[in-house]
Amino acid sequence: MNPAGFAFLGAGIGAGVAVLGAGQGIGKLVASAIESVARQPEMAGGLRTTMIIGAALIEGIALFALVICIILATK
């Protein structure tokens, strides 16, 4: 396997791991949010906003990783 092959492999594995982490994070976030809403339904509106912002921040971190992978894959 030539070095470019390793780069592609690294990019693919990196993208997979980044998505794994982000999925774990967002899953945990949404699980807690739903739990809180179930306990206190009157808080649903505020919790949803906070949850979406939190999810967006987690997504941002995952996207950083994906950008690195894309740079690696298109080199």
Partner: protein, 375 residues
């Protein structure tokens, strides 16, 4: 890996015949030609023309500033006829690896000055701006006439009230909240409209190019820093870059050691926020299109009409509907995160403000606490 590549590399024309006459193997000499996926992904990029599929193309002019003069050419042929400039045909060339396909370049491979062409992205950007102005103008003039909302004004009012009550007021402290309200409204309505433009036939998502999302994020970045410096003062703004270190009681060596670590991190933190904003919008708007293109590509990959009917069409419709949701959601997230970042900068002023104004109230609270302690 090799075998897969040759299987995928079918030109569109051949792929269409391949769908009709099932299982025509297209492997062979096509390796040099662009494969169907890269050709489809090419549609996502910035173009010098707008595709209006059955009726051909609308050619947009090439305009650029080079060597002290302004050049305008109507078509790529005219650019090539000039003898000095040419249009990049390949994906990547040896001389300019970063150049995009379809971009103008000099024949002698020198970099051209400033490319000011009206591309498809810019075109739809402008169309969205004009449509937004017309809609809002109409809603505003209706609001002046009567208090009862009707028609398009109803829709605009719902969005405006949502942004004001759910995004700006809880996040941005007061003197800046109402003065920056127009900015948040503009950003939200404009990004939403531009995003939705990618979902209409012949449309083009301007926000799926990094230049445009970066431009929007830079505006947020400038406003964030402006609000930060104005509300905290330059000294406090610079001190906050030390991460609150000036308030800690540490030995001088420890402080210097931590400063060396903290200051670069805090400065980097200033830039990662708008960077994440730009990347998030760009990636979300691009990803949906790529998924739809990949689903369409399955038809060419399997040479099967069954896959087309039972996989591509239902899943594409599903992703398309998801994209409508994502288009609105990303506009909201961009606005909400801008509000959060700007609000974080205006925050310290907010606290001081509250303390000054509600002094009697705060004193009452202290009194209550004191009395409860006494009890």
């Amino acid at each position: 890996m090799e075998g897969q590549d040759t299987n995928v590399s079918v030109t569109t024309a051949q792929a269409q015949t391949a769908v009709d006459t099932a299982h025509t193997t297209a492997a062979g000499a096509e390796a040099a030609k662009p494969n169907v996926f890269s050709q489809m992904f090419g549609f996502l990029g910035n173009h010098h023309s707008i595709d209006v599929m059955p009726f051909g193309k609308i050619q947009l002019p090439y305009m650029f500033w080079d060597q002290g003069s302004f050049h305008v050419y109507g078509t790529p042929e005219a650019v090539k006829e000039s003898g000095v400039y040419t249009v990049i045909e390949d994906e990547k060339t040896e001389s300019s690896p970063l150049a995009e396909k379809g971009a103008v370049t000099r024949v002698d491979h020198k970099p051209i000055g400033l490319d000011l062409s009206i591309t498809s992205n810019l075109c739809f950007f402008a169309v969205a701006a004009v449509i937004l102005t017309l809609i809002l103008q109409r809603a505003a003039s209706a609001a002046k006439k009567s208090l009862i909302p009707k028609g398009i004004r109803n829709l605009v009012e719902v969005l405006v009230v949502f942004i004001r009550d759910d995004v700006v007021v809880p996040n941005v402290a007061e003197p800046y909240g109402s003065s920056l309200m127009p900015y948040f409204l503009t950003v939200f309505l404009f990004i939403m409209l531009v995003n939705l433009f990618g979902l209409v036939p012949w449309g083009h998502t301007a926000t799926s190019s990094l230049e445009i999302t970066a431009g929007l994020a830079i505006v947020t970045f400038i406003i964030t820093q402006y609000v930060g410096i104005k509300s905290q003062g330059l000294k406090a703004f610079l001190l906050h870059l030390t991460g609150g270190l000036h308030e800690m009681e540490l030995s001088i060596f420890m402080k210097i050691f931590l400063l060396i670590i903290m200051v670069p991190i805090e400065i980097m933190g200033l830039f990662t926020k708008p960077f994440a904003l730009a990347i998030r919008l760009f990636a979300n708007m691009t990803a949906g299109h790529i998924v739809i293109f990949s689903l369409i590509g399955l038809v060419f990959l399997f040479h099967s009409i069954v896959v087309g009917a039972f996989v591509t069409v239902p899943f594409s419709v599903f992703v398309y509907l998801l994209e409508i949701f994502v288009a609105v959601l990303q506009a909201y997230i961009f606005t909400a995160l801008s509000a959060v970042f700007i609000g974080m900068m205006a925050h310290s002023e907010h606290e001081a403000h509250v303390h000054d104004k509600d002094l009697p109230h705060a004193a009452d609270g202290d009194h209550l606490v004191a009395s409860s302690h006494a009890v």
